[in-house]
Symmetry: C2
Subunit: 276 residues, 2 copies
């Protein structure tokens, strides 16, 4: 497709938008546009910055049009560093020291005890997850379990699905994770239907994405599901992100030699502005 | 190209890596791998979160291999919100109130006065830039001017190039910006060689990217230039981001009707894992 076609396409797109309005958005999507969603994002030392800010960027932009609130939730309020403390990554090996990494702080507004009622909860991944496991820290898993029934949606990015598996909410559900950490995540939640080749998965109210940047593609698909695409597509084009829209596009599952990965899928993904 | 080819390709890639090591990386790139780069990122109320964290995500991952330090620099230290204060966007129109937007805080570690010597300075975009202009706040531009000669590289993401233009460092240089804010940015720096269709630009030591997400593609190209791709490509595949590598891929310039935009370029960008 060539730019010269776009001038021809744009009126069609406008028409499509009209048709969409006529045949959809669904009643649920229309209702969601005026519902004030309470969103919670969990933080812990060593969270992956883009796991949080990739999805948040799209949510913040959309909050100009649809009402929502955000809570950043951790064991304690205040600054939480994206640098994980030293930790044993491989049993028997010396601890991995990450003190030479540059890092950011994000601010936790609530604790697991003081967090408000939530409609949407997102669990990011990150090296810090290994430290929590090493220390037998299950505070995130306990929080997920305590809030699960009240949640309308539960999302994870990257290795965040490890906490969903540990919490037991992924039993008999499809889920995925960062393909470069696949063997590590597989030790959790044997009853999970892990999908080796997936940019993201949806099973009921649970959405899980592959590694880091895949969280942005899952978030585009998730917000399209919740609100429809009218405002969302103009936002994606304003932040100039052309999302991957095929959940089965996952060449990284092959790059990282994930057992059972689909070797036959396309290695390339032709991306273009949202709505075109 | 199909996954089934990758198993064939991977040895070739390893070989390519060897050859790269033989014919390149350059002496400069090898020297850079042991040089401790001092990186500064400017913050201000209403910065765009992904303008900062997109590039930072890649830098933090690379800091596990190559030494670097990071400073977040603003008018005052402490938390800086991604929500811009109410401001007049169009002269004569009532102020735009963004108080309903969800937001994050990032922590400024230094002020424009206390910032350490810097090798690399990155200026993010965001709605807050309009407030600075409205208030005739030139603190960022003064900081850029005062540090410009000592900088090895000056980067901007999205509307951050507005501050470079206001500072006067873009005179007779190629630069770009967010295509949905093109008319607003064009009022600054008439002597700038603005490039209407560009995912990013490089002119001497100045790198500028198009809107928000384009900062990640510029950062991949920039870090490839500084360090070479051996470690960088494995990092891109670990964070599962397939970067756009063609600086002339910019369908958003057409979507937003930028005057002089290349109407003939491809609307689709076939992306694939770095190095494949």
């Amino acid at each position: 497709m060539r730019f010269s076609l776009i001038t021809t396409l744009l009126p069609l797109l406008a028409l499509t938008a009209d048709l969409t309005t006529a045949t959809g958005p669904t009643k649920k999507q229309l209702a969601n546009r005026s519902k004030k969603f309470s969103i919670g994002i969990v933080l812990y030392p060593g969270f992956e910055p883009l796991d949080v800010i990739g999805p948040f960027e799209i949510m913040q932009s959309l909050s100009a049009y649809y009402p929502m609130t955000i809570s950043f939730i951790a064991s304690k309020t205040g600054p939480i560093s994206s640098r994980a403390p030293p930790h044993v990554m491989v049993p028997g090996q010396p601890p991995v020291d990450l003190s030479h990494l540059i890092a950011i702080d994000l601010y936790a507004t609530h604790t697991f005890t003081t967090a408000p009622p939530l409609d949407i909860l997102l669990i990011p991944g990150g090296m810090g997850g290994m430290v929590l496991v090493e220390n037998n820290d299950t505070s995130i898993e306990q929080f997920i379990t305590s809030r699960y029934n009240q949640l309308e949606y539960l999302l994870s990015v990257c290795t965040g699905s490890m906490s969903l598996a540990r919490a037991g909410v992924l039993k008999r559900k499809r889920a995925t994770t960062n393909k470069s950490f696949w063997p590590w995540v597989m030790q959790f939640g044997g009853k999970v239907k892990w999908v080796p080749t997936a940019r993201w998965t949806q099973d009921g109210k649970i959405w899980t994405s592959s590694g880091v940047a895949a969280g942005m593609d899952m978030t585009y698909a998730f917000l399209s599901h919740v609100y429809g695409t009218e405002q969302l597509n103009s936002i994606m084009n304003a932040i100039e992100y052309a999302p991957h829209t095929d959940p089965s596009w996952d060449p990284f599952s092959v790059v990282w030699n994930v057992p059972g990965a689909n070797q036959g899928g396309p290695i390339e993904s032709c991306v273009k502005p949202a709505g075109l």
